[in-house]
């Protein structure tokens, strides 16, 4: 008889996101916000640039969140958040958490300069990139977060994306900020824990959330969590943390990684890939996994 194990609910019951939002069926980004706010609590102000979430929240005069939102310009998630932080400090509110919440386009591409500026200044904000790997809000155009091999409307099947996904974590780690983490909507306990942890740290914190997009990935809405889980189990999107740019910790040690093909085959955006192309992607995933293990001292 094995030792009795008790399951405890570590995810707060409080909800800061209401039904009635405008997300698509199976949207990873909406699940990400719901979980992030469970970790951060109500004393949070969020800056949302142009991205799916600029729409998901709901049109004026409605909002699906129970926290204040500043809808800011596309490239200004970080700089707006830095301003809000400074403004709050000057009016005597040093408690409220300031969250920048941007998509991969607003983070990897157009907002990268402002993000780098905020990180270099170590401004006291939590910057979250919910990554659905393309410009989904404008109708699935490639971003520098789109993985190699993927179809998008600007990387058509005959000329699918040939470039690798930008290593945003590497870029952020090079800034030496106090806290960086990856998180996945398939691992809610881990994700909520990371947002709670980030809330208690001062300085720039960066959380990269993997958020599947059925509309853009041509996957089934009911497969969103499954895909997010497979991304972790294949080693495509490992769950790890980097503290002060130096201390790497692997949060989920996947003993036997599943083949990347299992993850790719559930998505129409990879349907055109031939076996040898999948093999190349597998090689790349393996190499990245090995690099991360090495960083983590494993």
């Amino acid at each position: 008889m094995s030792k009795e194990r008790k399951m405890t609910l570590t995810i707060p019951r409080e909800e800061y996101m209401s039904p009635g939002h405008l997300a698509c069926q199976g949207c990873g980004a909406s699940l990400a916000m719901r979980l992030a706010l469970k970790g951060l609590g109500q004393k949070t102000i969020v800056c949302i640039p142009a991205c799916c979430w600029a729409v998901i929240d709901g049109p004026f005069p409605h909002s699906s969140l129970d926290i204040p939102i500043y809808h800011c310009a596309f490239e200004t998630a970080a700089s707006s958040a830095s301003g809000v932080r400074a403004g709050l400090d000057m009016v005597g509110d040093t408690e409220t958490t300031v969250l920048a919440w941007a998509g991969d386009g607003g983070t990897f591409d157009i907002g990268l300069q402002a993000l780098s500026g905020a990180a270099e200044r170590n401004d006291d904000i939590i910057y979250t990139c919910y990554d659905n790997e393309a410009y989904m809000n404008t109708g699935i155009q490639r971003s520098s977060a789109t993985p190699i091999g993927a179809w998008t409307t600007t990387t058509p099947v005959k000329h699918y994306k040939k470039e690798r996904k930008k290593d945003i974590i590497g870029i952020m780690a090079a800034h030496g900020i106090p806290y960086i983490a990856t998180a996945s909507v398939a691992y809610p306990e881990d994700m909520v824990k990371k947002f709670k942890k980030a809330r208690e740290i001062k300085g720039t914190r960066f959380i990269h959330v993997f958020a599947p997009c059925p509309a853009g990935w041509k996957s089934r809405p009911e497969d969103t969590v499954k895909l997010a889980r497979l991304a972790v189990q294949t080693g495509y999107f490992p769950l790890y943390e980097i503290e002060d740019g130096e201390k790497w910790t692997l949060n989920l040690k996947v003993k036997e990684r599943k083949p990347i093909a299992e993850y790719l085959k559930l998505q129409g955006r990879f349907r055109h890939l031939k076996e040898e192309e999948i093999a190349l992607i597998q090689q790349e995933v393996d190499a990245r996994w090995a690099r991360i293990l090495k960083h983590c001292g494993l």
Binding site: F60, H62, I69, S80, S82, A86, L88, V91
Partner: protein, 384 residues
């Protein structure tokens, strides 16, 4: 207290006396001294403010807007290319009703690279919904900053305070620095009608359907229309405390004039000297210097110019394919009035070429000798 300071430092002192709480800025010639002095003031505690040393002007304005929406009084300064980079955020400031006050040093736009005075940078931002003040002395710069905060915060519309590169930004003049306690009496702390706070959560600037958008813009225009009267009222209140009046325009010997120059910025200062010289020669000249450009001071301009036979508008800017921008605006203000003067348009001083007393003599000779302008644009001092 009187101090000999440069125009850029007049902006810094204005922001300090207004107790700006958040400053976010990026350096650009010829604005640098504005932010250098402010960062010193923040570092040594003369000014209790957060200075965010951003990586671009775009981020400077973005950070100011975040801070403003959080309830802080915010200030920044820029010039030319920096202002152009901010363009998107200028719309954000007025559309979001965030009363940031910004100094802009008028500098010509590249290419070719120029660091010298010309108004095409700020006038390209004419339609962004910012209040625009053009200054001609360092004292006016300082006084305008303090009054701009009051006007902006009352109407929740941002203000731009504009001074010519070098001719004012780097020119040292005697400036009366008001006492802090008296400025505090004039300008209470910023207390916006709405702000970002978890105690009363709202979403600002979200997706706005055609059912709502137009009303937001209508309200912005309606509040813009209140600016001229408020500038007068605020000016009178300021005058009571400090003895100097700002107002929308500066009228110099226009009452009996046969020819009135319409000017702005430091050229308006030179024009007054030219008017004195012309009057010594027996020519009844006058000068109308436009201080408040947006919103345009229609009533003042109409009242002063409708009784004048000839008007010569001097532009240190050009709208390519049209005319000088002040010329367009003056003609637009006078169109359809029962009595209108003959209006001539002159362009001078682009890219920092000097506008001298002689420039005005040339303008006066042309205007007085003709019954209509022979060219749509009369260029002064250009090598054709």
């Amino acid at each position: 207290m009187k101090k000999v300071i440069m125009g850029n430092h007049a902006l810094s002192y204005g922001a300090m006396l207004s107790r700006a709480q958040v400053i976010a800025a990026y350096p650009i010639t010829p604005q640098t001294q504005v932010v250098e002095l402010l960062s010193e003031m923040c570092a040594d505690g003369t000014l209790n403010a957060k200075f965010i040393k951003v990586e671009s002007e775009h981020s400077a304005m973005a950070a100011c807007l975040g801070a403003s929406l959080a309830g802080a009084r915010t200030f920044t300064a820029t010039s030319a290319q920096g202002l152009a980079l901010m363009h998107e955020m200028l719309h954000w400031a007025s559309g979001g009703r965030m009363p940031v006050v910004m100094g802009n040093i008028n500098r010509a736009m590249a290419p070719g690279w120029s660091i010298w005075a010309d108004q095409n940078d700020s006038l390209s931002e004419r339609d962004t919904g910012w209040i625009q003040f053009y200054c001609s002395s360092n004292q006016e710069v300082l006084d305008t900053v303090i009054q701009a905060f009051k006007v902006s915060e009352k109407l929740m519309i941002p203000s731009m305070i504009i001074l010519d590169a070098f001719a004012l930004s780097h020119t040292y003049e005697v400036v009366e620095i008001p006492e802090q306690a008296r400025v505090d009496q004039f300008l209470p702390p910023f207390n916006p009608p709405w702000r970002l706070t978890p105690a009363d959560p709202h979403a600002f600037g979200g997706l706005t359907s055609p059912d709502h958008y137009m009303e937001l813009r209508y309200k912005l225009q309606k509040d813009m229309e209140k600016v001229p009267a408020l500038v007068e009222e605020t000016g009178k209140e300021y005058e009571k405390l400090f003895g100097r009046y700002l107002g929308q325009v500066e009228e110099y010997l226009c009452a009996d004039a046969e020819l009135v120059f319409v000017t702005s910025g430091t050229a308006g200062y030179t024009a007054r000297v030219a008017v004195d010289e012309l009057r010594q020669k027996g020519i009844k000249a006058g000068n109308l210097r436009i201080k408040l450009f947006r919103p345009f001071p229609f009533e003042k301009v109409r009242a002063i110019l409708s009784r004048v036979p000839k008007v010569a508008v001097l532009d240190r800017n050009i709208s390519y394919g049209h005319h000088g921008i002040f010329y367009q605006e003056v003609k637009s203000a006078l169109y359809g009035q029962p009595s209108s003067p003959l209006v001539f348009g002159f362009i001078a001083g682009l890219g920092g070429r000097d506008i001298t007393r002689d420039s005005f003599q040339e303008i006066a000779e042309y205007t007085l000798s003709k019954n209509r302008a022979e060219e749509e644009i009369v260029w002064i001092g250009v090598k054709k």
